[in-house]
Symmetry: C2
Subunit: 212 residues, 2 copies
């Protein structure tokens, strides 16, 4: 049987080393072709060498984050499977990865056997999102499901000011527009997120990471 070729992208050594160790438990099944500390160095590598079958990818990295790496892979129409291996068991992160086209998502507490299962599954064209992961995605989806569309830049700007405790009037004078405009923005956001008032707007927005 052909070995599955694997690459790792992660900015921290600890994680890369840990993954290497997990992979080595089933050494005969894999062919590790590279371990990279950034998306850039991975794409550099691809210019000379062949693409791996499966990419193990961290999300939070400086400069080019995991999401951008997925985007670039899809843009280049590379035929490799992507497993996101992230420290964030946060629903919105997982969902975003899935939307961008990740084939699997593993939380931090993987063991060698679970990792192996995921790799084989995505290599065979299946998706791998664990039950726990799926339920978290579901939480966010249930909020988003009621969200008719994304917030516009101006709306986000207003949202930030609301979170800071500014009143409608204060925000209006800060942005040089009428109070009614700010009210409209706020009310539009409340409709989009399907919430009843400003307090729920803030808490829902923070859950969805529209503000941090």
């Amino acid at each position: 049987m052909k070995k599955i070729s694997i690459a790792i992208i992660d900015d921290h050594q600890l994680f890369r080393d840990g993954l290497l160790s997990l992979l080595s438990a089933y050494d005969d099944d894999y062919d590790l072709i590279g371990s990279f500390n950034s998306g850039a160095s991975f794409f550099e590598f691809l210019e000379k060498k062949e693409s791996p079958d499966v990419l193990l990818l961290d999300l939070t990295m400086p400069e080019m984050d995991g999401f951008s790496v997925i985007e670039k892979i899809k843009k280049k129409k590379l035929k490799l499977k992507i497993i996101v291996l992230s420290m964030h068991d946060d629903g919105s992160y997982i969902l975003k990865a899935a939307r961008k086209g990740a084939d699997g998502y593993l939380p931090k507490n993987v063991d060698a056997a679970e990792l192996r299962e995921a790799i084989f599954k995505v290599y065979d064209g299946e998706k791998h999102f664990s039950a726990e992961i799926s339920s978290r995605m579901f939480d966010v989806l249930s909020i988003e499901g009621n969200m008719s569309s994304k917030l516009t830049p101006k709306e986000k700007e207003v949202l930030l000011h609301i979170a800071k405790g500014l009143t409608t009037k204060e925000i209006a004078s800060k942005l040089f527009v009428s109070s009614r405009t700010i009210e409209t923005h706020r009310l539009n956001m409340m409709k989009k997120l399907n919430v009843k008032n400003s307090s729920e707007l803030i808490s829902t927005a923070m859950k969805l990471r529209l503000i941090k």
Copy 2:
């Protein structure tokens, strides 16, 4: 020179393996006496064997989390240094660890040299919080500094309902008290957190992880 004895507590294999790999870079300096997947198994080990000099500890674990491990160590008055090695670069986590008595805090992107430096520093009785870490702590402290005291259980209950979008009247009837009582709770919280209105109350509370 005597080797520094080290133990690791982390629930995920990937992390433990990664740490082992990082430690092996300066193999001669350390004496790894144990690697544990839970606080319980570490304390079990301590009943028979001697305590390590330095403990590398993860925060987020099932059952007994890292904070509880620190507490138990302090209660038992064990003389070992604790370095928290966490995936959370979140100010409130770091601060909580420091308050409980952690001697150092390292973010996820440690390399072997940084880890070594931290281990030697805490072994010598110093504290090790990197500049980045310290600044995050400072962010939370600056909010907390203006917080006269903690929220009471009832206040937290009211806070949750506010975050869900309930009005004062709705919360009052839900908790079988007068609207004025709920108002008092809300206003007291606003004073404690030094915020101007409900929106800022929610955003600040979420930053401080008073609600999730």
